[in-house]
Subunit: 191 residues, 2 copies
Amino acid sequence: MGTGSSGSAARASRPARPRVELLRVGHRPGRDPRLSTHVALVARAFGAERMYLHPPDATVVASLAGVRERWGGTFEVVPAPSWTSVVHAARGPVVHLTMYGQPLPRLLPRLRRAREILLVVGGAKVPPKIYGEATFNVSVGSQPHSEVAAVAVVLRELLGIPGARPFAGARQRIVPRARGKSVVQVRGSTA
Amino acid sequence: MGTGSSGSAARASRPARPRVELLRVGHRPGRDPRLSTHVALVARAFGAERMYLHPPDATVVASLAGVRERWGGTFEVVPAPSWTSVVHAARGPVVHLTMYGQPLPRLLPRLRRAREILLVVGGAKVPPKIYGEATFNVSVGSQPHSEVAAVAVVLRELLGIPGARPFAGARQRIVPRARGKSVVQVRGSTA
């Protein structure tokens, strides 16, 4: 057993996965809470750390807080009165997802080397300034589709397909089944 | 140079990608048109053939017809007054996407061997019967998230990340750019 080229050493030296945060811009309170909630749920389920929401909307914050209480983890929606502050505070590449951007596969090697990534997604309305503020404008296909799907696919490429393990502190978890539904309460949960 | 094991021969003998159709069940006209439209747009952009919609909703049909007219391709939303008829007419595995199902990675090898697949996704309301009617109940992670994301990730695994090529008959297409937006009209388009 050498000291650097065995299978397990190769695994150990595999670069760590980036930490990913999300910024949802152009949210329209009253019109978009369901779609922004879907974006946030996907970010959480696929392993992002948190989602900044601009403009702030208490409905989405509360909805994700309820999910965290039942299903665990530390993901939260953070109200962002200024989206530019979030962008300027980013400690890694700012990746704006847009159908007009460069194809994802071309940029993936660079994104995978980053330690921290801020993903930015718009809805129906996107501040045009974001195209200039972003480090990369990235497209998942060059067709109109959905910011929910774009976030899912980028996180899948960066962090993998999410597994079946419950999140830390979950009150309940799913036991995957071929038929029907199985949700069990987690014993000793204090959440 | 042999006759069966070169790189190009290996590529040539790679199984064809499955043809995928989608069935969206439990749609609530008046409440869900935006989310069902997102599901349909993702299905189209990621290479599915069509989406059956139950119950029917002319809003979603019209919205995708408009996208087809501008962006090309043959994808359409087909009203499905009976979802069981669509399931019974399927000529391959019926794959119901649900957070309660078996993990996607475990079933992928079998799905990739199929020639035709019917993906079924519910919304807030899913007829419980579907769990029994499906060939497989499949989860993309065992956390609550979004049917839009689940469809995107399954299609990405089966058909790949969509490229930048315009669809046949498109009137306009995007030229991917590092900054800003570039949409060009396609000459000779008759759509």
